[in-house]
Every structure is written in C-alpha cells, then in structure tokens.
C-alpha cells in the first residue's frame, strides 16, 4: 500500500498516538507520521476531527478515524493479514480485553493525569492510591488472563494484543509519575507480573522504536508544568 494512503496525525508524547503507532507496526503498515503543531491546532486536525479536535487521527484513503482504541481495532480489521491478530479470537476474551482497555481510559489514566495538578497533599495521596489500586486490579487481570493459556508473556498471549497496547502505551507516563511523586507504583514487590510484562512490552519490536524515552517525557512534563503554573 502506498505510504501516502495512510497518514497518522499525532504528537510524540501522547500515549494515545503511541497506541496507533504500535498497531500499525504490528501490521507492518507503511504510513506517514504528521506531527501536530498545536498552538494553534492545524487545519487538518480541525477538519479531520471536528468533534473532539484531538490526536491521534488516522487518515486512510482520505477518510479520518478518531479515538485511539477505535483506530487500533480499525487497523486490526483492515490489515488483518499484515500481522498477528490484535484482538483475541474468542468473543469473551475480546470483551475482557475491551473492558480493561476502557478501564484504563476511564479510571487509571484520568487518576494518573490528575496527580500533577492535585490541590493539596490529601488529594495527591488519594489519587496516588487510586492509581495503585488500579494497577493492583490490572496485575490481578494479567495473572488471570495469562494463567488460562500456555503463553504467559503478554495479555494477548505470545504476541502483544489489544490490552497490551491500551495499557502499555501508558508506561512512559507511569514512569514519569513515579519520578515526580517519588512513589514506586510498578515493581517486583507490588506488581511482579506487570513489572516483567512491562520490560517485555517495551522491548517488543513493534514498540521499542516508537515508545518515547522516559527522560524526554519528564522534560516535556516539566515544560508543561512551567507553562501551566500560575504566575
């Protein structure tokens, strides 16, 4: 497929954009990455995602697809023969993967994101606890899901799948959160299953070249905080 037929509008720090990139890599799709400028938002972004005006946007055959998890499923459907299946084969396993991916977006990510802007120590502690509880649930889910099959490498089995992508895309920002809060969220003591999974995920061929380095994300976060801090 010609490279120009597939475009991904995104930004390097975004975990949601990372999801789309990993999915496209798994399927060996040749695509053009367009780094969104913001300030102001580009015409392309406003036209292709008028509802949310957010990245990522996948543009395929001139048609835009928005929302990262919807993009991942679209890539899985369209380029089904390009690489291993991203969603599991069994309908129940698919539903479980979707459930946890939605949990990551609805609960885990918002809690994690809010820590930096927390008003006061109590709220900060409450949010950190929420993230810790969320990770404990995912550790439990990881153990349950991997105990079913022979392959205990990833949520998706021996290959990374939908939930690996949905959750793994947050790893960079989770590491940044550990550094800025001084709290170990993710380690051999608290989440041994996930700690090992995280290493394998980040080393995976479809992930390692597109996963942003933690120190770069940290610098980016510091710049953001400076911009947002009240004068």
């Amino acid at each position: 497929m010609a490279k120009s037929e597939v475009k991904l509008l995104g930004a390097w720090p975004s975990p949601f954009v990372l999801r789309a990139r990993i999915a496209l890599n798994i399927k060996s799709v040749d695509y053009e990455f367009l780094e969104e400028t913001f300030q102001p938002k580009s015409q392309l972004l406003l036209q292709s995602n008028p509802v949310y005006k957010k990245i990522p946007v996948l543009i395929h055959e001139n048609k835009p697809i928005c929302e990262s998890l919807i993009i991942v499923q679209y890539v899985d459907d369209v380029w089904s023969s390009g690489g291993p299946s991203i969603l599991p084969a069994d309908p129940y396993d698919r539903a479980i993967a979707r459930f946890w991916a939605t949990y990551v977006d609805d609960k885990l990510f918002p809690a994690m994101k809010s820590i930096a802007g927390a008003k006061g120590e109590e709220e900060r502690k409450r949010l950190i606890k929420e993230v810790e509880e969320g990770l404990a649930l995912l550790e439990d889910a990881f153990n349950k899901i991997t105990s079913k099959g022979n392959n205990k490498l990833f949520f998706g089995g021996d290959q990374i799948g939908y939930l690996d992508i949905a959750f793994g895309s947050l790893l960079g920002w989770l590491r940044v959160t550990e550094i800025t809060t001084g709290v170990k969220l993710f380690d051999q003591v608290n989440t041994p299953g996930l700690a090992n999974w995280a290493e394998r995920f980040c080393a995976h061929a479809a992930v390692k070249d597109v996963m942003p380095h933690t120190h770069k994300l940290l610098e980016f976060a510091k710049t953001l905080m400076t911009k947002l801090a009240p004068i």
Binding site: H60, I70, Q73, Y74, D77, R94, F99, T102
Partner: protein, 225 residues
Amino acid sequence: MAEDCGEVQFFGVGGSPYARRVQIALKLKGVKYTYFEEDLRNKSELLLKYNPIYKKVPVLVHNGKPLAESLVILEYIDENWNKNYAILPQHPYDKAMARFWAKFIDEKCIPTVVKAAWTIQNEEREKAIQEATEALQFIENELKRYNHKFFGGDTIGLVDIAASFIAYWLPLLEEAADLTLLTVDKFPNLHKWSQEFTNHPVVKDNLPPRNGLLGFYKARYAALK
C-alpha cells in the same frame, strides 16, 4: 431461535437506559436469558460478585462468565451470537464510525443532557443546555448526512441502541425537569428517528413504562428545587 444459547443471566434495573440497551440487543438476537432486577440501594451478592469493580448494571453472565459495561456487552452479544441480525456494520470503516458515535453518546450526549436537567441555577443551567445542544447537534448532523431511517441504515444498529436514551429518556427528562432541548425545529432528523425507533417492534416492548419513569424524575426535580 433453535440455537442453544447456553446459560445467560442478565442483571439490570428497569429504568436504566444502559440496561435496556442490553435487553434490546438480546431480544434482537433472540437470545434466551434469565433476568435479575436489581435494587441499587441494596445490591445483590451476585451483582457484587460479577461486577466488583463498578458494582453497576448492566451485567451479562454467559455460562458463568461475567461481563460489565453496556457497550462492551453489546459487542459481545453481536460477536458471540453472530448467525443472525448484525448489530455492528460489516465494513471496517462503518464499524469504526458506529463505535465512535456510540462512545460520543456516552461521553458527551448523555452526561450533558443529564447535567442540564438537574442543574437549577439559571446561568449554569443555560450553559449546560448549550453544551447538550452542541453535543446533540453532532448526532443530528450524522442522521441528516446519511438520510436513512436509522443510524444503522434500514435496521437498528449499535448507534441506534446507544441513542435510545435520546429517543425515550431525554423527552421524559424534558417533561419532568422543565427542560427545552430537543425541539423539532432544531432537531428535525432526531425527532423523526425517535419516532421510528420507539415504534420499532422489538424496541417498543422493551422500554420501561413511561409513567413510572416520569414520576421518578418529577420527584427528583421537585426535591432539587
């Protein structure tokens, strides 16, 4: 339907639009199930066991395996009982669009409408109504663009089922909470679609009784004022 569905249990609440989505989907597919009506002030042991994370309805349990979150359940119903009545479109792009609008209804339409209904302070209410109007306008435009009987084309699909809140619950909220939102001049397509949807043979038998829901909303509004 002759196909053996296995053991299907469905936990819901009569007035919940999310639970009714699952009910409509099960009926469209002809799936036999046992229904458990929950009392949300006194949740059953089974509900807490099957949905420990959110402790909410709807919950679907198929051969002992539980699922929560209505849109997740709808896709499961469609994929598992896939021999008849497609709820999601076949084409990947159409499928992506259906998922997009269903999600938009949950993230924007329903919360903004609910907020508008239950906000009493005038200025805040006006602002909430404005947000709800903007959200609904996107949905109105989608109907206008494709000009089909339903979001799913000739038959009801994922987006129609997700939008059941707009067709049935929203007008009741308008009546109970003195809210003017879905006017026919601003939303002619949504009005027409609502009529078609609520008169659909499967849908109309699977909506909660009007008076009960209206009474519940009126009491709530009176308590707020």
